[in-house]
Subunit: 235 residues, 2 copies
């Protein structure tokens, strides 16, 4: 069971502030990407395990930190009894991303560059392609992949910002066949402005922001119960 | 609430095997210390929050990875509403340990080299001095500190191996005034042999061991429920 809080009790933040908080966490506050990515990926996996039955799950990972969250999420999903496969279209040269690949490979989580041909064997897709630093439009090889996912009708769980969305404005109006239409979303740290009018299942994770950073930006942080790492946002 | 499992359902491991599993996680399986330390420290904080009321808590951190778990634990305890203070007698030159110091300092968690003079203001002490690579006896400045903690009668929660214990044989018989007599313990990955006859509250965390590593060593791993990161061991 995930504790429910009102979305009115938390700040929705813009792209610039999200980037600034991220930057401060890694400089002034001394956090390592590995640490916060582990907590983010764990929170995402917990939200999925709370909301969906155990199944095959295709985890689409981009080359940046959002993709890293996806790799970590896949690892934890396997621990929770899911059967993850990773789709990793554009390999990063980043050393941490290379380690995440090794972790998943040695954990017998398949990694492919393209969508599985038997996509319908996956009742759930995790979208970890682009995060809060994305600027539309999407480019190849992602555009084609997003179109296939959209056409498949398979439920998608997005990590932070649904891929293809403007971080502040949300899904593009007009042609949106290369954009994720998520079934559910987990926001990390705080929801981004694009989530303001979202009415589907909405989780929130990232219980690691120090109080002085919260105070500096006058953020409304979620009230997590006990030692939980995720909450669910409702009206 | 923490799920309870029988201690008969998990392996108790020796010092050599614990070291070997650790080494394999960081080499063959490609894990980063930062990742597994984050999960270990989080599990420890969750066990504490599940078992003790919110209070001041003094977290004694050694210079190695057990101490690193302690720093991470302190950070999460603060998020859970506890008021942690860190006691860090022997500074490490390790780059990750330095980052952990910055994280706690900027989170307004006090760090001192010696025990607080008002130790009785702390209803709980977390022992993160030595882990599974410890060999008795303890040395200064730890011996004196352990004696003071012992004499204080304050409840101690130990992370992995209670400090001063032989990893396999447990608490020394005879003179044991410089040894932790814990009130409760969290074992990480799997309990060590020294915990075999332990009858106090006993938690287990470290839900990250890949299946092929489990199979290679024919380990009995705990059955964690749902997406939980800790279980409690009972007879």
């Amino acid at each position: 069971m995930v504790h429910i809080i009102s979305k009115k009790t938390v700040s929705f933040i813009g792209q610039k502030l999200a980037a600034q908080i991220d930057e401060q966490l890694f400089t002034k506050y001394g956090f390592k990407v590995e640490q916060l990515m582990e907590l983010a990926g764990l929170a995402a996996a917990q939200a999925i395990a709370a909301h969906y039955p155990k199944s095959n799950v295709a985890v689409l990972c981009g080359p940046g930190n959002n993709g890293g969250d996806g790799f970590v999420c896949a690892r934890h999903l396997q621990q929770f009894g899911f059967t993850p496969s990773i789709v990793y279209p554009k390999e990063s040269r980043n050393e941490l991303m290379k380690s995440l690949v090794v972790q998943c490979e040695t954990s017998s989580i398949p990694i492919t560059a393209t969508l599985p041909t038997n996509l319908q064997a996956f009742p759930l897709i995790v979208d970890a392609l682009f995060g809060f630093s994305f600027h539309p439009p999407t480019r190849e090889p992602f555009t084609e992949m997003l179109k296939t996912v959209r056409a498949s009708g398979i439920h998608v769980f997005s990590i932070d910002v649904p891929s293809g969305w403007d971080v502040e404005l949300g899904a593009p109006s007009g042609n949106d066949d290369d954009v994720i239409h998520p079934h559910s979303v987990i926001s990390l740290t705080l929801p981004k402005l694009c989530m303001k009018n979202w009415t589907g299942p909405h989780f929130l994770g990232g219980r690691f922001v120090p109080k002085s950073l919260v105070d500096e930006h006058e953020l409304l942080m979620p009230q997590y119960p006990g030692f939980e790492q995720i909450v669910k946002l409702e009206d």
